[in-house]
Every structure is written in C-alpha cells, then in structure tokens.
Amino acid sequence: MTQSLKDLSFQALFDVAADAMLLIDATGHVVLANVAAQELLEYPEADICGLDVSALMPLRYRDHHMDFMAAYSRKPEQRAMGSGKVLFALRRDGQEISVDIALSPIHTKEQLFTLVTLYPTDRRRAAEEALRVSEERLRLAKQAAGLGVFDFDANHNVLHWDEKMRELWGAETNESVSYKRFLTAIHPDDRAARLAALDRAIDIAGNGEFNAEYRVTNLHDGSERWVSAIGQMHFEDGHATRLVGVARDITEHKSFEKKMQDHRAETETLFTQQVAAQTVSAIAHELNQPLAAISAYSEVALHVLESDTIYPDNLKRALKGCVEQSQRAGQSLHELLAFLQKGDLVKTRLNINEVVKEALGIAKNNGYGAFNPKLHLDPNIPLVIGNRIQIQKVLVNLLRNAVEAMRGAKMPSSPISITVRTNPEVNMAHVTVQDNGPGLDREIAGRVFEPFFTTKPTGIGMGLAISRALTEANGGQLWLDPDTSNGATFHFTIPFAP
C-alpha cells in the first residue's frame, strides 16, 4: 500500500488534485497547470504552459508582483491560505476572480519551482452570502406579513412552531405545544369549520391544501384574535403525514371587513330610502300639476257662476279643463301602479300598423304632434299578439321623448320616422322610432332605462323604464340603438300571433 503510493508521480497527483494548481519556474513562467487550474482560469493546457504568471493577474498588480517575485526569490518560503489579503486572478476572458493563493517553494538541483494553489473565494462567499440573504429575506418577509410558521409531523405527533405562532397562541418560548393545547385555544364555534378544512386537506383525492380561518384565545393574556391558516399536506404511501404552513393574524382585516359590511348595509338602506323618496316626489309632482290646474279651473268656474253675467264659453273651458286634468292625474297613477305591480293583461291579435297609426293620433291629441311623421309600414306583416293600450303607450312615450328632445334642441317640426318590419332573427314584429334630435351622449344612453333617470327638469324619469317594462310584459324587447349620431333611435319587438 505504502509502496504503491510512493510510486505515484508528482505529475499524477498534480493532475488529479481538486484545487487549481500551477507550477511556476524561477523566471515566473508557468511550467504546468492542472485540469482544475485550466478550468478555473479557462485556459487550454497548450496556452497556459509557458505563460508569464503576471499575465494571470490584473494589470494593476503586475508592478507589485515584480517586487514580490524579487523578494521571494531571495527568501522563498511557504505562504499559507488566508494569510494574505484577497487577491485577484485574471481569467482568459479578462474576468477577474477573487482567489486565495498558497505558495509552496520546491527546490530542485537545477532551480527553484513554486507550486501555486488557487482557491476561488467568490463561489464560497457568494453561496454563504446568498444563503444568509435568503434567510434574512424570509425572516423579514415573515415579520412584515405577520406570518407564523407551523409544521405538524403526524408520524411522530410533533408540532413545530416558530416564535410568531407561540406569540399568537400565547405560549412560552421553549414550551412544547401539544396538539390538544393547540385545539383548546381555538374558539368552540370555529372548531367544526377548521376540522372540515383539515378533512379536506387529508383527503388523498384532493390537492392537500389546507385553508382555515378561526378565532384563537391567547392562553397568555386571554385576548381573542382572528387567525388565517394556510398549509400544504404532505403524503407518504397514501397517508397524510405532515402539514406545513403559515398562520396570519387577520383580526384587523376582519374588523375592517365587518365595518365595510355595515357600511354597505347602511348605503343600501340609504339608497332604498332615496328611491322611495324619489318615487314619492315623482308621484307628487305628477299629481300636483293636474291638481293645480283643476283647482284653478274650478275657481274660474265658481267665479263665473257667482258673476252677474255668465260667460258660458269660459265655464265650458274651465270644466273641460277639470275633466282633462283629472283624467291625466288618474292615468299617471295607473301607469305608476302598472309599473309597480305589473298586473295581468289582456292580449289580443293586433295589426301593428294600426297600433302605430293610433299611437300617432294619441300623441297629437296629447300635444306631442309637433313633428312630421315618416311612416314606413309593412302592409303584409302578420298579426302580433299583445295588449293594444300598452303597445300604444310604448309608442306614445317614444314619440313624446323624440318630440321633447327635438323641442329642447329648438328643432321644431322635424321628421320622426317610424318603421314597421319583420325581424327575421327573433321572428317578431320590429318597430323603429328614429328622431332627428341631438341624440344622446354615451353616459346618458347607458342610463335612459333606469327608473327616475331624467334629463328633463319636469320629467318624472319613468317613461322609458315603464315602456321597457310594458314591452317585456308583452313578450318583446325595447332598446336604444348604440349609434345616436343622427338622433336617437329606439327599437322594440312584439311577438307574432300564433
């Protein structure tokens, strides 16, 4: 054994050494470089041998190296690792690597050789540094996120907790925490939910995720905190063996959530109250106008009767006004009730062309006739089924809106085109009402069907909401054409009679 070792040549040892080694002659030239050195410095063997050793160090060290070489040749001695400062070697590609260098003089008869061993310090230090940074980062992140780490080993029934977990449960630093003690701290109302979450995690068919929220009573100070635990179950041979995860104090989050919930509920109540107030105000306005007129007409009539000379024309006009305004008030009420209750309606077979013509007549009688109707009817369209009054109402509402829009834009007696055709897509009668008014901007277009939405200072804001409800009650749809560049275009459909 010893004998065979003695037979090993220097060259063989040199070549297999794990550390990077160079053999330098007295003139400072590389005689040999082992494989590790070739790899470290990235030189092929043929190129490194014969190289002046100063070529293997950064320029700034070369002068100093000459002095060092001179001193060394006068008094060659071993220099161990780590005795000097950090040195740099120059790789073939010009990259500097930090190295620790050991020198071992080898005296032969002919000359002085020096064995140079290079230990790269970069990698070791970098690895150590990386580990330290990573641990620090994890620690900081845990701290910042308020995360506690737990690790339950089911095989050995051991529960590992970090400081934060102990803090949450109020356990002493070195005290071992039994599973039972862990459970006792959990709020009784939350135990079942936590257990269910655990069962899901244990389920071999599942993905092993554990996710639970529960209250923990701190054993130390008795305070109650909300905790969110997230973990991953590990399995061995089809058995859950280990649950590792993090727990977080979410008490503040929970109280914020509660506050938000309360706030939402409050906002909703407020909104409901507002809608109710708006409804009442709209109804009040809608009724007050005819009432005001009826009151004035009635007093006019009374005054006529009390006068010495009776003007029958005035009396007639006043009483007629009373009747009309009473009718109007009643109709407003019925419409609102119809919208709110949507009672049963009688549907009959109707010629939609006729309904359009009737609606035009009603619009004119109601004072919305200030337009130039352009009718495009389809004489061959099949009969539809629906409630005549309601479909008329939808049409009158659309005409009234169109007239008011054009009036608002000071465009008197503009054309309104009404088109009746068959919509083959849904197989229904399709009616289009298009005005030449200013159209609607995008924001308003998105809201026109909302109840109580109005752009008119005297409007109740129910017209289109009611119209849509009426159309739907008749089995059709009412919508606004997205293109409002040439005035507003409304479409509605009514199903054909079977």
Binding site: A284, N288, A293, I294, A296, A318, E404, P457, T458
Partner: protein, 206 residues
C-alpha cells in the same frame, strides 16, 4: 296714476293646463294676460319698462324660473316677479325673494292668493316705473347744469348758506345768488327741498 287695466300679467309655465287655467282666472278680473310656454319665448318677447308683472314657474325645461329672473334683471327689465312652484321649497323661496321676487306661491294656488299677489305686483310695477321715470327726469334736468352750478347745488342742498358757499368756492355772494337762480330755473325745482329730492332721484347722494 297708472290704470290697472293698462297692466299685463305674463304667465310663464311649460304646463299647458296651468297656463290656460291661470289665464282664465286673471282675465276674469279684467286684467290683460299673456302666456308663454317657456322662459326663452317670454324673454324674446319681453320689453323693458312694461307695466305689469310676471308669474313664473320655477321648474321648466330649458331655462328655469330662477334663471329667467336673473336674465330679466341683467337686461334691466324692472318687472316684478311672482314665482310658482310645485312644492314650497324654503331655501329656494328665500333665494328667490332675495333676488327680488315679489311672492313665492305654491301650486295649487287659490284664486284669492294669486290675485292679491298679482295686484300687489302691479302696484309694485307702478312704483318701479314711477321711480324710473323720476330718475330719468331728474337726470335730464341736472344734465343742463354747468360744473360750477353743480358745485353750488351740492353745497346748497347740504344746507350751507350763500355766504358759506361763496367763501368755500372763492366767489362773491352775488355770483352764488345768480348760480342758484339759474339752478332753480333749469331744474324746475320750486325750493331747496325740491332740489334735494331731484338730486337724490338722479342718483346723486350726499
């Protein structure tokens, strides 16, 4: 004295039935009425210094009642305004009254209430027009005065005796007397008190 039969009541309301019924009601009192369906159409037809008043609905499409009142005063149309509103909104009525409305009536309004208000507004209109006429008259009279005569007048209506005025302006007592008689002649004032009134009406204070 103006006659109530010369006054016109302008009704501005977008509701046809309100316009119609109120027109009938006021016409029964033999007061002339003109009704308009919008603030804009009324404004276009409205003349300054018209004897009468306006009954204006607060809530109207386009220009509303408050904006109309504002537009009238900007155009120097001195017409008393009575507001009509669907609901008696107190902050709104306070604002309207501050802006010079004569009255603020809630619909439905009784015949008595409306007519009282209209009559008061017509009286107010008469007063306004009279003041306006006086003002113009006084201004035109004072326009005849020379600068020196104006100086003398200002001192005279403050009650300074002629001697004082003469000393103050560095002129003779006699010259002051001549200026004063010219002032009285040009303004048509009968005495110093009358002269003070004219100066006040023309907008000259102190």
């Amino acid at each position: 004295m103006m006659n109530i039969s010369d006054a016109i009541v302008f009704i501005v309301d977008d509701e046809a039935a309100i316009r119609d019924s109120l027109t009938l009601m006021i016409a029964q009192e033999n007061i002339a009425v003109k009704a308009y369906g919008s603030a804009e159409s009324f404004l276009a037809a409205c003349q300054a210094e018209r004897f009468g008043c306006a009954v204006i609905d607060i809530r109207m499409p386009g220009m509303d009642g408050m904006q109309l009142q504002d537009a009238l005063s900007k155009r120097n149309i001195l017409m008393p305004v009575i507001f009509l509103t669907g609901h008696g909104d107190i902050p709104m009525s306070v604002k309207a009254m501050k802006a010079g409305a004569v009255d603020f009536l809630t619909k439905p309004v009784t015949r008595e209430r409306l007519l009282n208000s209209v009559r008061a507004a017509i009286q107010e209109s008469e007063k306004i027009l009279q003041q306006s006429a006086n003002h113009k008259d006084a201004q035109s009279r004072l326009a005849e005065l020379t600068d020196r005569e104006q100086d003398v007048m200002m001192l005279a209506i403050q009650g300074y005796p002629n001697k004082e005025i003469a000393r103050h302006l560095g002129i003779s007592h006699r010259t002051v007397e001549i200026h004063k008689s010219k002032i009285m002649f040009k303004t048509g004032a009968t005495n110093l008190l009358d002269l003070a009134r004219i100066a006040h009406e023309s907008g000259l204070n102190n």
